[in-house]
């Protein structure tokens, strides 16, 4: 219930945060909304010795259009993403995904960057970003590099960020009017998805079907080859080795993936 002791420092800028990360090393973690990290620390599943607070840096928040993309500051809370007129018009799948995270209080604090950095395969935003074919801008001492969503999630709760990098911004393509579908199957409100599916523009992303959000490539290929949503959805679980827990065993998860994919392809949310 109480985290192990740690030191706290409020970064004055993103580059200051990078310097702090450098000097404190592996034992330091960045703190934005804290709604992925602090719950872990309270259960003592994580015990960084230093927290570097980037939650109030104006340069890391905000939503703007940049050509064919929307650019969202990493420290932007889910509530802002969910209610943004711009995102709701141009990337409604993202707005909807953000509106499904946890509950209202969690959405007021948790951030898009924090959620992506946490890399929970059962979470909403990683799946949404993969479905949208979005990317993240990573800021490091050497400068900024852009990483596509498909390359961002390396393993179970693991991203491909280098030590000393932070997520500065999230980019998604603008696609006003494009049909999309989103299915988050839960037993009870406020839960993480037992299985989740997000589909847009021929891309299908799955949550909680493996250690990272996954693309349902067999289903995508079938779709691209002219299959109907129902036919394509039959292949949604191909190649997946989902985990088992109190809510669902492997077979049931695969079955859900198929049903939910069909519904997502029918543009239901």
């Amino acid at each position: 219930m109480i985290p192990a002791p740690f030191d706290y420092v409020a970064a004055e800028s993103a580059t200051h945060a990078l310097d702090l990360l450098d000097s404190y090393g592996e034992d330091a973690k960045l703190l934005a909304g804290g709604h992925s990290l602090l719950p872990m620390m309270k259960l003592r599943l994580a015990a960084p010795s230093v927290l570097i607070d980037i939650g109030r840096l104006a340069e890391l928040t905000g939503i703007r259009a940049e050509g064919g993309e929307l650019v969202i500051g990493a420290a932007t809370p889910h509530a802002a993403v969910a209610t943004s007129d711009l995102i709701r018009a141009d990337a409604p799948l993202l707005a909807h995904s953000a509106s499904q995270v946890g509950d209202p209080q969690i959405r007021h604090r948790g951030t898009i960057g924090g959620s992506l950095a946490h890399a929970d395969p059962a979470a909403d935003l990683p799946m949404a970003l993969v479905a949208l074919g979005g990317s993240v801008d990573l800021l490091g001492q050497a400068g900024t590099r852009n990483v596509p969503a498909d390359d961002l999630f390396a393993g179970f709760f693991e991203t491909s960020l280098d030590p000393g990098e932070l997520i500065a911004a999230v980019r998604v393509p603008r696609s006003p009017g494009m049909a999309w579908g989103y299915q988050k199957f839960v037993r009870r409100a406020n839960d993480w998805a037992i299985v989740g599916v997000a589909a847009i523009d021929g891309r299908i992303a799955l949550a909680n079907m493996g250690p990272t959000p996954l693309r349902a490539r067999a289903a995508e290929q079938a779709l691209a080859g002219g299959a109907s949503p129902a036919e394509a959805a039959e292949l949604a679980a191909d190649g997946t080795e989902p985990g088992e827990d109190v809510h669902a065993d492997r077979d049931y998860r695969r079955h859900l993936a198929r049903v939910l994919t069909r519904r997502a392809l029918e543009h239901r949310a």
Binding site: M1, I2, A4, P5, L43, R44, F185, R187, R188, A189, N190, D191, I194, D245, V246, H247, A248, D249, Y252, H255, L256, V259, L260
Partner: protein, 759 residues
């Protein structure tokens, strides 16, 4: 205008809404100044011998004052359960742990934040033993939890050898099934806590969130090896209990022990993890129901065989089957019925009372059996119920199981709820969806129930409760009650009763409870007893107070007591025919205190009853259940305050529904709890339930002047089987006959597959 039966808003609320309730962790008291903080290191394994405990590292952690193990508490009496004297246990085990979460060491710190750091450093060497989790494993007894007992059977109720082999001989149709009434967590929003301080007089004052301070006092005294007179229990506001805050849990005993050991006040609040693994769980029965009868719907015979999982310790849960058996035949007239129960121990959290405490289990089994029978003969479950319910009775009706039902009209309750639900229209809609082949199926579930409330302490011991009412010269009044409200609104309800008699406004009446120095005797609040016993006592005390006051008024008015009348509207005695010759009630307290203490005794327990209809939708592609409607009749006699009664029904219905399709405690094969947080335990949220539809029916009891029975647990008794039956009903056209609770999506989906032959 009588205030009884009206929707009086709670006088408690302004405080709760603004500064908040003062729960045990909130208590600020000079006797607790400088209190140290108590923490428990707990077993991470389900069953093991303790080979060694090293607290030296913990002792060196910042702020640690002391650390204790079972050896340090060896002087405390061993707990010997009444049901089984071989299954003894220590307050703090020294040799053996029997469930994940059992305390193994105490660490005491200066500040609250230091405790979790310190308990991580307690080093325990466990010789792990095989866990015993499964009913069958426990009964087989290859691994014993209590070697001295030679078995994992803690006790039996009824005689398995006396079961009638020919019970079902005359039945045209017989069906039998073993079903699960699964383990759930009471999970009140306030976790357990305790604070204790020893005075110079050698007495301990303990603040404990309890449902019954007087029982807590006795339990704490016994477990500390002292007399009850040396224990002063104060009950702060309690954040919910649901049956799990009776007596004195081991942690509370240890807090008091630490305070004595260190000569310093001590306090403790558990985390939610601790609450979900170490507060007693509820239900946990495996039930074999066998039911038989004629094709015309007449039930001829019913047998119930129960195995009760008591968890690792023999506590209240182990004896609750006696109540289950008591209510075996429920509201039905079944010519031949019998039941037996066996309580077993397993390496899991001990089981205790949980809203309904043994009676919901009886109703759930019977209502499932009725539906199984209905499905077998292809008859509408409403018709089967109507055919077999006991006809209305005005003389108490004794069942073969020893229950004496006071008043009841079960058929009327059923008909009323069916009408309120629009049952025929629901069946029509169900048929239409089936004809269309809708993938979202509609299910309608029924439950009829009768339940026992306000029991006495033992067989043939008439239940009772005391109350003291005092009128003060300033026109206010104080009531002392032996009940122990924790959300039920007694401060308002008891004030209504006194106000009705004495003419003093409700907001000028204060209720006190839960302080054993102030109220040395009392039965607390549980088993839906409070209004019938405690409320009746308040009413009686108020009436008796008026008689005392009458004598004083007569003397004051120099009149004959018989010539006076009490004008409730003015709260004054007046000479009949001469209203100006009057004296206010309050003024009669000016020279001498005006108070009466009385004990109300009720002839026996009362039996509220009702019927529930639940409507669910089941997404047959995913197994997800959505609860659409719950319509209920819960008849507990006269309704003193409809606002409060409805609130109790809502809360009970929600908990009952939660058990049917959402909540469950899960252990893996090694006895590790898998649902030990609110993220994992599927605690019901506002989105899983609809608003409920309550119909009104009031069949008074003759056992007390108010005509009231108990309402607190009724909602949970009816809702569980109604919702479970609804889910199964939704899928009956697919061949599904039964789904164990909770009807989680996976369980429902698997049942559909199995019925299709695609297991």
């Amino acid at each position: 205008m009588s205030i009884l039966g009206t929707r009086v808003l709670r006088t408690e609320d302004p405080r709760f809404l603004t500064t908040g309730g003062v729960y045990t962790e909130d208590v600020v008291d000079e006797r607790l100044a400088g209190a140290c903080h108590v923490f428990f290191a707990r077993s991470p394994v389900a069953h093991a011998r303790i080979a060694g405990i090293d607290v030296s590292a913990a002792l060196s952690a910042p702020g640690v004052i002391a650390a204790y193990t079972g050896a340090d508490l060896a002087d405390l009496p061993v707990v010997t359960p009444g049901l089984n004297k071989q299954m003894t246990r220590a307050i703090l085990p020294a040799d053996r742990v029997r469930y994940v979460g059992e305390p193994v060491a105490i660490v005491v710190t200066e500040q609250a934040y230091q405790g979790e750091d310190a308990i991580e450093l307690v080093d325990v060497d466990y010789d792990v033993l095989p866990a015993v989790v499964d009913f069958a494993d426990a009964l087989a007894g290859k691994v014993l939890l209590y070697d001295e007992a030679g078995t994992n059977v803690a006790g039996t109720f009824g005689d398995p050898d006396a079961l009638d082999q020919h019970l079902f001989d005359e039945c045209e149709v017989v069906t039998s099934r073993t079903i699960l009434n699964q383990r759930v967590a009471p999970a009140p929003m306030e976790t357990r806590a305790a604070a204790a301080a020893w005075g110079e007089d050698g007495r301990v004052t303990a603040w404990i969130p309890s449902q019954a301070a007087q029982g807590c006092q006795g339990a704490l005294a016994r477990q500390l090896g002292i007399t009850p007179q040396e224990v002063h229990i104060i009950t702060p506001d309690v954040g919910g209990a649901f049956g799990a805050k009776f007596g004195a849990d081991p942690e509370a005993v240890m807090v008091a022990w630490v305070a004595r050991q260190l000569g310093r006040p001590a306090r403790w609040t558990e985390t939610r993890y601790e609450n979900l693994v170490a507060m007693t769980h509820g239900r946990a029965q495996q039930q074999t129901v066998t039911i038989g009868g004629k094709r015309d719907g007449t039930v001829l015979a019913y047998r119930l065989e129960v195995v009760q999982d008591s968890g690792a310790h023999v506590r209240i849960g182990a004896v609750l089957p006696s109540l289950t058996l008591l209510m075996t035949s429920g509201p039905y007239e079944i010519p031949r019925s019998e039941s037996v129960a066996t309580s077993i121990v397993t390496s899991t959290t001990p089981v205790g009372a949980y809203r309904g405490a043994g009676r919901p289990e009886a109703t759930a089994a019977l209502e499932r059996a009725i539906d199984l029978f209905a499905a077998e003969i292809g008859m509408d479950p409403a018709d089967v119920r109507r055919r077999n319910l006991l006809p209305p009775f005005t003389e108490p009706h004794r069942t073969k199981f020893g229950a004496l039902y006071d008043t009841g009209d079960y058929v009327a309750a059923l008909d009323k709820v069916l009408a309120a639900a629009g049952y025929d229209d629901l069946r029509k809609e169900q048929a239409e969806r089936r004809d269309r082949g809708d993938t979202v199926a509609l299910g309608i579930g029924l439950a009829s129930y009768v339940e026992i409330t306000g029991m006495g302490d033992g067989e043939d011991v008439p239940p009772k409760e005391n109350a003291t009412v005092e009128v003060h010269p300033d026109g206010t009044a104080t009531i002392l009650t032996g009940t122990s409200p924790h959300g039920q609104g007694h401060a308002t309800a008891w004030a209504m009763l006194a106000s009705e008699e004495l003419g003093i406004p409700v907001d000028k009446i204060t209720l006190k409870w839960g302080d054993t120095d102030l109220v040395p005797e009392g039965g607390g609040t549980g088993g839906s007893r409070s209004l019938q016993h405690g409320g009746s006592a308040v009413l009686q005390a108020s009436q008796e107070l008026l008689e005392v006051a009458r004598e004083r008024a007569a003397s004051e008015l120099e009149a004959n007591p018989a010539d006076l009348r009490f004008d409730v509207g003015r709260s004054a005695f007046e000479v009949v025919g001469d209203p100006d010759a009057s004296v206010p009630l309050a003024s009669l307290a000016a020279d001498e205190r005006l108070l009466v203490r009385t004990v109300f005794t009720q002839p026996g327990a009362t039996f509220p009853f009702g019927s529930h209809v639940a409507v669910v939708e089941v997404d047959t592609e995913t197994g997800k259940v959505t609860l659409r409607r719950v319509v209920t009749v819960d008849d507990a006699g006269f309704v003193l305050n409809p606002l409060l009664a409805e609130g109790q029904r809502h809360g009970g219905i929600a908990q009952g529904a939660a058990q049917a399709f959402v909540e469950e405690v899960v252990y893996d094969a090694d006895g590790n709890p898998l649902t030990a947080s609110f993220a994992d335990y599927p605690f019901l949220s506002a989105t899983e339930v609809p608003s409920f539809e309550l119909a009104d029916m009031q069949t008074r009891t003759t056992y007390n002047p108010l005509g009231v029975k108990g309402i607190g647990e009724a909602g949970s008794i009816g809702a569980t089987p109604a919702v479970q039956n609804a889910v199964i009903d939704a899928l009956s056209h697919l061949g599904v006959r039964h789904i164990d609770m909770p009807a989680s999506p996976q369980r429902v989906w698997r049942a559909i597959q199995a019925a299709k032959g695609n297991a």
